[in-house]
Amino acid sequence: MTITFSLITIIFSILFHNTVGDLLAFFFGGKLDTFLIVAIFFTLSNEKYTSLIYGFILGILKDVLSGGTLGINALSKTLSVFAIGKIQSGYAKKDFLSIFILCSIFSILDKLITTLFFYFAMPLNSITNVFLLETISSTIQNAILGPVLISLLFKCQTKFVQSKKEINYPIR
């Protein structure tokens, strides 16, 4: 996968996060984590090594754009990408159901890492019902829209980017 396509995907994730994500957040409370979905896509379509860096970049981007604690999303996304990379090496299915399960599990994991971190770093901040509802809403959105977006990105990738694994036949 070329760097250009990766950059376009990152730009797309920012655009999607700020438009559709905001709109969904307005209606359903929780916000769709486009950066996590794109990180999962990168992990499924890239080498483990490259996807780690992309995951970190996406995390930093989310931190800066959300205005929260810098580094927290970078940490959670890097860990998520690492875990997906480990799973992917033994289980390489890319069908809708597998991606649905991946998105669901890693949405929860992502939220769990950030929540646990806040819980230990700032114990005074208690977990409210609103936060829980937003987390559930965000997880459901990620689980439903994640596979759709990822399969769309896969389609774009196959259409616009030439695979590296393509066999080059010798010139006769």
Binding site: I11, L15, K48, I53, V64, L70, I72, A74, T78
Partner: protein, 272 residues
């Protein structure tokens, strides 16, 4: 061997990235100021994308706002329609009453109500006195404007033509103390003489003491006096005072004489 090295490199990168993340978190919690430059750089790089994403965001907001407005308009529309139907009913009964009155007038051989043709005009000059008494309009004898024709606007009675030149005319306003108007209270039909006491207030004198007049009551021309036809809005009662054997009404004129621009001149139509 290669695979082992690759895995080692992978773990090293992971640890390196986690270390950066932790450092950023600690710095972010302890001294956020040090990270401002990093944030600014990332935001600077992402700013064109954020600007682009603001466009559909704005659209969405506008669409949503319009949708909410539309909901209000829908409710308002239903209310207005209801009022319109009620007014249409009133209009129908009014027209029937009008035709009935005409029939009765014919039966009783009474003089029929006068009908008017309207000439639109504009105020082109104002005489600046303590009391603004006359204004000059852009219609004159050429436009069939004659002395004593009644001048009104959308708010109510303005005055009457005092002098008609070839292309302009002078209008004596009802604010002039020399131009009293015979009026009646629309609700109670009580009559009196209206005249202005200053630029914004008028007074109705010779109102019978036992009349039941309340603030907010509408005053219309009574038709007596020969110049002004009946039924033209003159003003609203703002206060009632008892003065010896009569009542005095303090009145706010319906017309804002300081903002007088467009007017209409009423020309009596001749019957065949």
């Amino acid at each position: 061997m290669n695979n082992f090295l690759y895995e080692k490199k992978y773990i090293v990168v992971l640890i390196f990235l986690l270390c950066i993340s932790f450092t950023l978190i600690i710095l972010s919690i302890r001294s956020r100021d040090r990270l401002v430059k990093i944030e600014q750089t990332v935001l600077f790089l992402a700013s064109p994308i954020l600007r682009v994403s603001d466009v559909p965001k704005e659209w969405t907001n506008t669409i949503w706002k319009n949708y909410l407005d539309l909901q209000d308009y829908k409710k308002e529309n239903i209310k207005i329609k209801k009022e319109l139907y009620e007014l249409q009913d009133i209009q129908k009964s009014f027209l029937e009453l009008k035709s009935e009155i005409r029939r009765l007038h014919k039966l009783l051989k009474l003089k029929e109500e006068k009908e008017y043709e309207y000439h639109s005009g504009k105020v082109i000059g104002k005489e600046k006195n303590i009391l603004l008494t006359t204004v000059i309009i852009d219609k004159g004898a050429v436009d069939k404007i004659k002395k004593n024709m009644v001048v009104i606007n959308s708010q109510g009675l303005v005055g009457h033509i005092y002098h008609s030149n070839l292309i302009t005319s002078s209008v004596l306003l009802i604010t002039d103390p020399r131009s009293p108007v015979h009026v009646k209270v629309q609700r109670t039909r009580t009559q009196g003489i209206f005249s202005m006491i200053n630029e914004t207030k008028g007074i109705v004198e010779f109102v019978s003491k036992d009349s039941d007049i309340l603030p907010g009551d509408l005053l219309i021309t009574s038709g007596l006096g020969g110049i002004f036809p009946p039924g033209i809005r003159v003003g609203y009662v703002i206060e009632t005072k008892i003065d010896s054997s009569f009542k005095k009404l303090v009145v706010e004129p319906a017309v804002n004489f300081n903002k007088l621009e467009e007017i209409k001149i009423m020309e009596e139509m001749k019957r065949n």
